[in-house]
C-alpha cells in the first residue's frame, strides 16, 4: 500500500536520524558556521597586512567611498533621530524633575552619551548600510563577481570586506559623536524653553557627570559596534551561494544578527565596564 506520509518511517534514513544524531549534526553545523564567521573577521583584518602598495591605495579609496555612503549620507537621518530623542528625553525628565538643570544634564549623560548614542547609531547604520552591504555582496556572489575577483588575483576579503568594515567603524564612531551633539543641543534648547532652567546648570550637570573613563567606553562601543555591523553584513552577504532568492534571506539575516550582536555587545560592555571601574554617577 502506498504511504501517505511524505517519508517512509521504515527507511534507513529515518531510522538513522535519532535525536542524538540530529543534535550532533546541528552542533557540528553551528561550530562550522561560527568558525566561518570568525574566519571572515580574522582574514579580512589580516588582509591589510598583505603586500602590495597599489592594492592598499585602491582599497583606501574604497574605504573613503564607503564612509561617504555609510556616514555622510546618513547625517540627515541621524540628525532627525538625535533631535527627536533628545527632545523626548528632556520632556520625560522635565516632568519628573522640573527646573533641575543639573540633574537633567546628568540624566542626559547617562542615557544619551553612554547608551543611546552608540546603540541608536549602530541600529541606523545596520538598517541602512548593513542591508545595502549584504545585498550588494550577495548579488556579487550570484553574478560570479567574487570568483572573477579571485581569478584576477584580487583578494576578495581585502577588496570587498575590509573597506566596508573599516567604513562602518569610521562612520559609526563619527555618527555617534554627531548624534550626541545634536541630541544634547536639542535637549538643552527644549529644556531651557520648557523648564526655565539655566544653560549653566545643564552644563554643570553634564560636565560633572562625564568622567575620563566615559571617553574610553564611548570609543570602545563605537569601534565594537561598527565592526559588528560591517563584519556581519559582509559575512552574511558572502554566504549567498548562487541563487538570487538567497539574497534577501541573507540580507535579512545580516541585519537581524547585526542588531542582536550590537545589543548584546552594548549591554555586555556597559555591565563589564562599570563592574571594573565602579559606578559612574557620584552621589548628589
Amino acid at each position: 500500500m502506498r504511504s501517505t506520509l511524505p517519508y517512509d518511517p521504515r527507511s534507513a534514513v529515518f531510522r538513522g536520524t535519532s535525536w542524538v544524531e540530529r543534535l550532533g549534526r546541528r552542533t557540528l553545523a553551528t561550530l562550522s558556521e561560527t568558525g566561518a564567521l570568525f574566519g571572515t573577521l580574522k582574514d579580512a583584518l589580516a588582509s591589510d597586512l598583505s603586500p602590495g602598495a597599489a592594492a592598499k591605495r585602491l582599497v583606501h579609496g574604497i574605504m573613503l567611498t564607503q564612509v561617504m555612503f555609510t556616514g555622510v549620507q546618513a547625517l540627515s537621518l541621524v540628525s532627525a533621530i538625535g533631535l527627536l530623542i533628545g527632545a523626548s528625553i528632556i520632556i520625560q525628565t522635565n516632568m519628573m524633575m522640573p527646573a533641575d538643570g543639573e540633574l537633567i544634564g546628568r540624566v542626559l549623560v547617562a542615557v544619551v552619551l553612554r547608551e543611546l548614542a552608540p546603540l541608536i547609531t549602530a541600529i541606523v547604520v545596520a538598517g541602512r548600510s548593513g542591508t545595502a552591504i549584504a545585498t550588494e555582496l550577495g548579488n556579487m556572489k550570484v553574478n560570479s563577481e567574487v570568483l572573477a575577483l579571485s581569478s584576477l588575483g584580487i583578494d576578495p576579503l581585502r577588496y570587498v570586506v575590509l573597506p566596508r568594515m573599516v567604513g562602518c567603524v569610521v562612520s559609526v564612531v563619527a555618527l555617534m559623536i554627531y548624534f550626541s551633539i545634536v541630541s544634547l543641543s536639542a535637549a538643552f534648547a527644549i529644556g531651557i524653553l520648557a523648564s526655565g532652567a539655566s544653560l549653566s546648570s545643564f552644563q554643570q550637570g553634564v560636565a560633572g557627570s562625564v568622567m575620563p573613563h566615559d571617553l574610553a567606553l564611548f570609543f570602545a562601543k563605537g569601534l565594537g559596534l561598527g565592526t559588528i555591523v560591517g563584519w556581519l553584513s559582509c559575512h552574511f552577504g558572502l554566504q549567498v551561494k548562487s541563487s538570487p532568492t538567497e539574497v534577501p534571506q541573507q540580507a535579512s539575516r545580516a541585519v537581524v544578527m547585526s542588531l542582536l550582536g550590537c545589543v548584546v555587545y552594548n549591554t555586555a560592555l556597559t555591565a563589564g565596564f562599570y563592574w571594573l571601574v565602579g559606578p559612574p554617577l557620584p552621589g548628589p
Binding site: S47, S50, P51, G52, A53, A54, A55, L58, E136, N139, M140, N143, S144, E145, L147, A148, L149, S150, S151, L152, G153, I154, D155, P156, R158, Y159
Partner: protein, 235 residues
C-alpha cells in the same frame, strides 16, 4: 617542476554528486584543452577547480608548479601565475564601467607590473580595441551592455593581464555570428601562443572544429577522450 596545468588525483563533489573522481591530467604549457559534456555535468565547476577558484575535495591542482588553491589569490599573481577567466555571463563587476573592469586588476597589481596610471589605461584601451569594443561603451556599466559586448569586455580584461593561463566557460554561448567569429579569432590566437595554456568548456561544434582540437568529455566524474558517436548525437 609541474609546468602547465596539472591535476593530481583530483576529486570534486557537490554533496553526493561527483563532478570529478580521482583525475590525473596534464596540459603542458602552450597547449589547449577542450572539455565537452552534457548540461549540468560540471564543466564550469571543472574550470573553477582547475583555475583554483574552488578548492578540490581531494587531490591537488598545480599551475606552473604552484598550488592553484592558494589561500590568497594575489599570492598566485605574485608567483607569476596570471589567470584570465571568461565566465559564462562575463562576470564583470557591475558597479564598474567597462574600462574600469579592464583596468581593475592592473591597478590592484600596478606595483607588480611596474605600471603607472597612464600605462594601465593605455593597455586597457588597447585590449578593448583588440576585441572591437566601441569607445562609446568604455564608460558604460555592464548592465547597459549587450551580452556580446560584455563577453568581449571580459575577454579584454583577461587579455590585458597578459595571462599564462586562460579558462573559457562557454565562450561563444548566446553570441551573434559576427561576435562569435571575433571571439573565435581571439581564441585561435590564444591556441597558437606557446606561452598560454588554455582550457575551454563548450559544447559548440563550430568552436571545436574551428580550434581543430580533439576534445575530452566529462561524464559521471570522469574526463575521457570524447566518443565520436556521442558527439554526433549531441550535435
Amino acid at each position: 617542476m609541474k609546468d602547465g596545468l596539472w591535476l593530481e588525483d583530483v576529486s570534486f563533489k557537490y554533496g553526493d554528486l561527483w563532478v570529478l573522481r580521482e583525475t590525473e591530467l596534464h596540459v603542458p604549457p602552450g597547449r589547449t584543452l577542450i572539455v565537452t559534456g552534457d548540461n549540468g555535468v560540471g564543466k564550469s565547476t571543472l574550470l573553477y577547480v582547475c583555475a583554483g577558484l574552488l578548492n578540490a575535495s581531494g587531490g591537488h591542482v598545480w599551475l606552473d608548479g604552484h598550488l592553484a588553491a592558494a589561500k590568497k589569490p594575489s599570492e598566485l599573481m605574485r608567483q607569476g601565475v596570471r589567470r584570465g577567466f571568461l565566465f559564462g555571463q562575463g562576470g564583470l563587476l557591475s558597479n564598474l564601467s567597462a574600462l574600469a573592469n579592464v583596468t581593475l586588476a592592473l591597478r590592484y597589481h600596478a606595483d607588480l607590473f611596474g605600471m603607472d596610471d597612464e600605462d594601465l589605461n593605455l593597455r586597457a584601451r588597447e585590449a578593448l580595441a583588440q576585441l572591437r569594443v566601441g569607445q562609446n561603451d568604455f564608460h558604460a556599466l555592464p548592465a547597459h551592455l549587450s551580452l556580446g559586448v560584455r563577453k568581449r569586455v571580459a575577454l579584454a580584461r583577461a587579455l590585458a593581464l597578459n595571462p599564462n593561463f586562460v579558462f573559457l566557460d562557454d565562450p561563444d554561448g548566446g553570441l551573434d555570428s559576427a561576435t562569435r567569429h571575433l571571439v573565435y579569432e581571439r581564441l585561435e590566437r590564444f591556441r597558437d601562443d606557446s606561452s598560454i595554456t588554455v582550457m575551454v568548456a563548450t559544447n559548440s561544434r563550430q568552436l571545436i572544429d574551428r580550434l581543430g582540437i580533439q576534445p575530452m568529455e566529462l561524464a559521471h566524474g570522469y574526463l575521457l577522450p570524447e566518443d565520436p558517436n556521442r558527439r554526433s548525437m549531441r550535435a
